[in-house]
Symmetry: C2
Subunit: 613 residues, 2 copies
């Protein structure tokens, strides 16, 4: 099906399948002739498909020509008014499945280079076919055996695969729709109302792009089309002096362009402040998008520090300080995936990056309605998990690589790996112990010294320090990268997607700063042959000791679905921390004040909250 | 100094050093004769020391005899009224340091067996000497070179080590006190008041020991002297049927006996409910302890699930549900350590165990006031980090082993390891990929199959399933153990403390249930030779497939202090999750309702929270 010069063939194919979804026109309804042009709804749909495929963002202006493909002249001539419009290749395919064309939704899967010689030089994208027909959750209704490969440059179908098997029915619609209005009663009883309240308002201010939070933090905040929320020039007030810390953003996921409008009270708490963002269109015109960022103070009921001291001179000591944090949130809805991306700032100087994922998982259709019927393999042969009748949740990974361009009190920084080492005690030394552990610090001299694969059995701590500035005790001022639970790639290093995503080979990398090395996968990810990734930059092995450096960290997830992920998946999350490590001279919130009963009673009334001993 | 039969010698030594701390009597004050008996304050102090050393809990009744040691007859005879009381060995030691005996505080360090032949059969405990003298944070003022080893059975000093060096001064007092009243002004400006408010009250009830939360959870809650909070008989309402899940408790840390009274508004939020607990005394009398547990609902502003759908038939879909959880909290103050232990229940069936640690770190004195003066070793020779002048924060580990006695819809359960495996695709297969990954399930047949060391590079998922009950699709109903960031032991397996703590060798173990195998370190931990630990039980290699089984998981921390940990350390935390995995037929909170602006406005007034598109 790799064919000639008609540049809009693919579009017509796609549009013809799904046009009714926009309720504007259809090939079988509003259109009355094979040569009818695309209607507004079809144009919008094409645009939507391109966006969903990450071929363009909502603000791009890349569509030069967009016309319906003319059928073969002989077909047009043979057609007469009142007859069905000429079938196209895909429409034939659907007929044998007994499906209604108007309910087909096309899912562009991840495009990219796969090292197939005959495909070399082409920008191809696989398209999966799903069937909505009464649910908004068409992701749960994949049509088995039907795939198309689209040439994104030529804008035409490159390959078309139809391995129809009557054994594999369409997964059922029932139970797939997640909207409240679609639920059979009874719905769950709500919990009693709960809210975070700040009767005196918030302790943060937003002036243009500068956010300042009490006497703790100030930073510059913007939404980047590709990276999403970008925090720059973050500084902390330390004894009256603003000290610089870092600049960071989130990868190359088109996070910003796909930022979802945040729903008050559900996406963010009542005390949140919402920010509109402005992104450029391809024509240079500004596009204002509402509620793309929210900022709020969080009090989860946790403690910042505490101690109960029973043996102190003078009697029992009970000291506790509540933990309040500042959260900057955006949600990026990339097709069926919703990523909740939080930057959380603590008063003690710690910054936590959290990635929440709540989404509709990717599926494939299967003939099986029970694991036990799975040809005796008890599910292992499905390459996924049976999450509903005839529906497999496909196993997959997520890797989010963070670009952390730190400035610890200056631009000349170094990366330190502090290895935790078992030490053996020689017999006869008089010490009854046989071992202990201590640390061995290595300042990474070049990029090769800073390619880190995390290991539980051979642990290290990781720091970015300013080697030219120390605390009064001589410790270099620094921040520590504290990994959370994460995942490493399982793919063969030579597998083309892995070559393109070579940046996930290590969990940590450090590179010398170069302005153009911004996105871990390079400028053009999908058709990259892996020649412009973080891995390639690191292989230059440039000097990173006492240089302007970038720290890269990847939060990874393996996802093996379960039935609870159907039809929509509860949030899972991953995180890492940037934690001050001899950045301050001592605990920076030692002088924080506790909450007092009198103040709370004045604002919220009395409750029985006796302090007891 | 291993000596004779006088059974109270040690007590008198200890008391004489620290008696003034209780403001009740002192050897140099209230006591007027060398033969004076112990006063009430001294008795209480002895008791306190025993408690602090975990030799007894506050409710134990193990002190059979407790008298002052009689000095040598010649000394008593030579003494005359008005003269200083006869010096004891330790008092001599202190004189040369110029310290005031009344300000000495003794810290019992970890007792235990160290495989020293001459110590065999003895219960010994090391005691560190610190100097309060104007601070409640005596932990930051260790006295260099002065240690005692105490025989806990004979109740006498077994060894006394005084390696005084005039090079090592006492670490300074300034900056060590963490109480608000001890801070030099100005203190930090408080953030504006923030509270979690529930105008209609909570959605949970506590009836005797049964906690029920909305239509989501009910469980039995108690505080165990040794294990702390114990959650039993946790059940979830699933389509009107309460289904059983689990029974779990937290290790053998004497967590319960050391539970700290919780301070409202600082240890728990305003909407918390506090529970008193009753623990038995050795004589069988009940001891009521106030505010040892708090329960509260948490709304952190996070989302339980959400999705923005731009391409759905019928137009854009925006669905989001707020995440509200139920937290059961206790804080155990074990000497200088404060462990915040949370069990957090989610509406989607997930249970999260969180360990927060906020404490005063363990220290040793050093002659150094700067890392740069550390004989050129830049801190590496200190076996710790210089956190203040003359003060080293000692590197150490924390391991908290959880005993998870699960019942997934019945007592016969199995442990499944699902290994994530890279698969290679043969060239010529027509697939452009070179690899993919899938899972390979192993049902652990015996205990040897379930000794798990976590690995990022060779990942697995871990489940407890009921092999006899499946979902409608044939998936076995189960819960998944989701490890968080954790740490593995670095010690030599033959090192005596490691032999006693062999249970931290693996992060996960599964054993056949036996009532007496309750605490991972065995009944008597400190003097154990490692012959009654989880490791020993597991070595029996009993059958665990389709049996009544116990899952053990260890949350570990390596702690390398930083200056920010001085004089008191901000909270760090670790966690793991128990996550439903084909336990429900689908997402159990699909039918949850979103928050609505009307309801919030009615209770809290209007704010500008426009829902935008």
């Amino acid at each position: 099906m790799k064919s000639s010069s008609n540049s809009v063939r693919w579009f017509v194919q796609l549009v013809s399948f799904s046009v009714v979804m926009l309720n504007s026109c259809s090939l079988t309804g509003a259109h009355t002739h094979p040569l009818d042009p695309l209607c507004p709804g079809e144009l919008l749909l094409v645009r939507s498909i391109l966006i969903n495929a990450s071929i363009m963002s909502p603000v791009d202006n890349i569509i030069a020509t967009l016309e319906v493909e003319e059928p073969e002249k002989s077909v047009v001539k043979a057609w007469k008014p009142g007859q069905e419009l000429p079938p196209r290749k895909a429409l034939e395919s659907l007929a044998k499945r007994g499906l209604n064309y108007s309910e087909i939704v096309l899912l562009p899967l991840a495009p990219g280079w796969y090292d197939v010689p005959e495909d070399e030089g082409l920008r191809l994208n696989n398209v999966q076919f799903t069937y909505a027909n009464g649910t908004v959750n068409y992701f749960m209704r994949p049509i088995a055996g039907l795939f198309a490969v689209v040439d994104l440059d030529e804008k035409q179908v490159y390959k078309y695969i139809d391995s129809y098997s009557e054994d594999i029915p369409l997964p059922k619609r029932e139970g797939t729709d997640y909207r409240l209005e679609a639920q059979e009663p009874p719905v769950l009883n709500p919990l009693k109302i709960i809210s975070t309240e700040q009767p005196n308002g918030t302790s943060f201010t937003v002036n243009n792009h500068i956010v300042q939070w009490g006497s703790y933090w100030r930073f510059h905040l913007k939404l980047d089309s590709r990276a999403g929320t970008v925090i720059s020039m973050a500084e902390v007030l330390d004894d009256g002096v603003w000290r610089s810390r870092l600049w960071h953003d989130a990868g190359e996921y088109g996070f910003g362009a796909n930022a979802s409008p945040l729903q008050p009270l559900n996406d963010c708490p009542r005390n949140a402040q919402y920010l509109d963002v402005v992104l450029p269109s391809a024509s240079g015109l500004p596009l204002v998008k509402s509620n793309r960022i929210c900022i709020f103070e969080r009090y989860s009921g946790d403690v910042a520090w505490r101690h109960t001291e029973t043996f102190a001179p003078g009697g029992t000591v009970l000291e506790a300080r509540p933990k309040v944090t500042l959260v900057v949130r955006m949600v990026s809805s990339v097709g069926n995936y919703d990523y909740v991306l939080d930057w959380e700032f603590q008063t003690d100087g710690l910054i936590r990056a959290l990635v929440g994922m709540t989404r509709i998982i990717q599926t494939s259709a299967t003939k099986f309605t029970s694991v036990k019927n799975d040809e005796g393999n008890d599910g292992d042969s499905l390459h996924g998990i049976l999450i509903s009748e005839n529906l497999v949740g496909v196993v997959h990974d997520h890797f989010l690589t963070f670009h952390l361009y730190l400035d610890i009190d200056g631009t000349k920084n170094s990366f330190v790996e502090s290895k935790l080492k078992r030490r053996h005690i020689q017999p006869g030394s008089g010490v009854p112990r046989k071992s202990y552990w201590d640390t061995e610090k290595h300042i990474a001299q070049t990029e090769a010294d800073a390619r880190i694969q995390l290991s539980l059995q051979q642990p290290s701590e990781y720091f970015v320090i300013n080697s030219e500035k120390t605390t009064r005790l001589g410790n270099p001022v620094g921040y520590r990268l504290v990994p959370g639970a994460t995942a490493a790639t399982l793919l063969d290093p030579e597998d083309p997607p892995q070559v393109r995503a070579a940046f996930v080979k290590n969990q940590i990398w450090v590179t010398q700063y170069h302005k153009e090395e911004k996105y871990a996968g390079g400028e053009f990810v999908y058709q990259s042959h892996g020649d412009d990734t973080l891995s390639v930059w690191s292989s230059k092995n440039r000097k990173i000791a006492n240089e302007d450096i970038v720290l890269w960290y990847t939060v990874g997830f393996h996802h093996i679905p379960v039935q609870e992920d159907f039809p929509i998946m509860p949030t899972i999350s991953g995180s890492f921390e940037l934690k001050p490590a001899n950045f301050f001279e001592d605990n920076p919130i030692l002088k924080a004040q506790p909450n007092t009963a009198a103040e709370f009673s004045a604002y919220f009334g009395d409750v029985d909250i006796k302090v007891k001993e």
